[in-house]
């Protein structure tokens, strides 16, 4: 009998860690969203429960869990029950391929800091993200209400339109990195683009491809159904859109999906355009100050890289809130115009120019 290898448990540990991280970020994000929006509007926000109202998400969660799981008469019971999970699953899945630190060499083993070190990397993300639409469609259809139906329809057309621009902007990134593996992409971005005295400017994706970044960033907002593209749930015209007829934990699952989608979108944005786990300026000096050698230093490096990654992700999470409470919602035809008439040609042009530049040896 073979001796038990503790490394076999590693994927499980990583799974639980990432899942725990995503599920912890969601209530934190809810809190930040409520307080942040309040502050932007000269309000206070929830401040009664605990210090600074920090217990508020817990109270919300308890309320949602213990609420009656009411199922309306007119719904398609099977799809009605399935939709929240179909919505939540892809959003939780996507984070599996995002690396949050460089691989750690432990003897003859290499520990990667992502749940699944897939060769398809970015393509996996694109594939899974487009699955999320099924949950929304299912929810809108099963609820059998015209508001939900309209919301789901809008969501479907919106997500399909913006996936094109998003995919094309990604292709130009793939041309530059010449890999689809997210770990290798993050490593690639550690190169020095040019030096300004002692300051080495890293070749992060945003510096190489600002146009692709703008297109990708805009598309992620459309993909996650956040303002200014939250037409699927536009309160003023559709009440709540596709999750109108859902209550208690089913509704919470939709919210969970939305917020974990935001987390994943931030993670992908960071991995592709902001150097992934590459250290932030100044952190390299701090890491050199750590009085450790060998494995200890490597572990410190992993901790630093994880922190750098999380700081970047947190910034983009905040940007989601920030933009939501700044910009008004797009009108539906404006949304389609932007997707098809601006972003798609722009991303095609960007792709063409990038290809020409690579052929000319600029990159």
């Amino acid at each position: 009998m073979m001796p038990f290898d503790p490394f076999l448990l590693l994927p499980l540990v990583k799974c639980l860690l990432i899942l725990g991280l995503v599920l912890t970020v969601v209530p934190g994000m809810l809190f930040v969203e409520r307080r942040g929006s309040a502050w932007m509007q000269n309000r206070l926000g929830p401040n009664r429960l605990g210090p600074f109202g920090l217990i508020q998400p817990v109270a919300d969660a308890i309320k949602l869990i213990f609420k009656e799981d009411f199922v309306p008469e007119h719904v398609n019971k099977f799809f009605y029950a399935m939709a929240p999970f179909a919505c939540m699953l892809p959003s939780l899945l996507t984070f599996a391929v995002i690396p949050f630190a460089a691989p750690l060499v432990l003897g003859d083993r290499i520990i990667t800091f992502q749940v699944a070190d897939l060769d398809v990397g970015v393509l996996f993300i694109l594939a899974i993200v487009s699955l999320g639409i099924y949950g929304i469609m299912m929810g809108g259809w099963a609820a059998n209400s015209k508001y939900s139906m309209l919301g789901a329809l809008r969501s479907a057309s919106q997500m399909i339109s913006y996936e094109l621009a998003m995919g094309l902007s990604l292709v130009s990134m793939l041309l530059i990195y010449s890999t689809v593996d997210l770990g290798q992409m993050a490593e690639w971005q550690g190169r020095t683009l040019f030096s300004l005295g002692p300051l080495a400017i890293p070749s992060w994706g945003i510096l190489l491809q600002p146009v692709a970044f703008v297109i990708f960033f805009t598309s992620t907002y459309a993909e996650t159904n956040r303002l200014p593209f939250d037409l699927p749930e536009g309160e003023s015209e559709l009440v709540a859109g596709y999750h109108l007829e859902f209550g208690s934990m089913k509704f919470a699952s939709f919210m969970l999906a939305e917020y974990s989608n935001m987390f994943t979108a931030s993670g992908v944005t960071v991995a592709l355009f902001f150097g992934g786990w590459q250290l932030l300026p100044g952190m390299g000096y701090l890491l050199d100050l750590v009085p450790l050698t060998g494995l200890g230093h490597d572990i410190a490096r992993v901790a630093f890289q994880g922190t750098a990654f999380m700081i970047k992700v947190c910034f983009f999470m905040w940007t989601f809130v920030w933009i939501r409470w700044t910009l008004p919602r797009f009108r539906y035809d404006q949304l389609m115009d932007l997707g098809w008439k601006v972003l798609l040609p722009l991303s095609l042009l960007n792709l063409f120019v990038t290809a020409v530049l690579i052929y000319g040896g600029v990159y």
């Binding site: 942040g36 509007q41 000269n42 206070l44 920030w322 700044t326």
Partner: protein, 188 residues
């Protein structure tokens, strides 16, 4: 008719305007200022001329009211009901002084009409009751400390007492005046 608005170049280019907007909102977060009054803990300082809950002024334990019936006469909402009685020294006094607070419009005309400076309006504004009954029925009983029905909710707890400038004479307990910790300085 179609109106064509000519916007400056940078306004037509959407991104610049987005950043302008983002700057406005982040400024609000950095310089976080609210005008919220956290009600039970903080209270708004109303003017001394604010017309709130009535009381009968008393000097050294003797109520000024002589039951002259001028206030029920002048009251446009017909909410004051007085039952007059006679003291041992033949002086007229109100046995019952009922004010139907649901009818009262807090116009302050009773205060103006009163020749004895007896009925006055304080700046207590918390008069909510759980039931729709004729509240403040035993108006004087409350003031005389015999409010058995407890029609007027007792103000309890720390910092709950509102600012009662002239209430000591009314014979009610006066809590510590709680100046508002935040919010605009001027009174309303």
């Amino acid at each position: 008719m179609q109106v064509k608005i000519q916007r400056p170049f940078f306004q037509r280019f959407y991104l610049v305007e987005i950043f302008t907007g983002l700057w406005i909102t982040i400024k609000k977060v950095i310089l976080h200022r609210t005008v919220t009054i956290q009600y039970p803990e903080q209270r708004r300082n109303y003017s001394e001329r604010f017309r709130g809950l009535h009381y009968i002024k008393s000097v050294q334990g003797v109520e000024n009211c002589t039951a002259c019936m001028l206030c029920p006469t002048v009251c446009p909402a017909l909410c004051i009901h007085i039952e007059a009685g006679e003291k041992a020294n033949k002086e007229k006094y109100p046995v019952k002084f009922d004010i139907d607070l649901l009818r009262c419009i807090f116009c302050g005309m009773c205060e103006e009409a009163c020749p004895e400076d007896a009925i006055k309006l304080s700046n207590i504004y918390e008069m909510a009751i759980p039931k729709r009954q004729v509240i403040h029925k035993e108006f004087l009983d409350i003031q005389r400390g015999k409010d058995k029905a407890g029609h007027i909710p007792k103000l309890k707890g720390k910092g709950v007492q509102p600012n009662r400038v002239d209430f000591p004479e009314a014979g009610l307990k006066v809590g510590p005046v709680n100046p508002r910790a935040a919010g605009p300085k001027e009174s309303y």
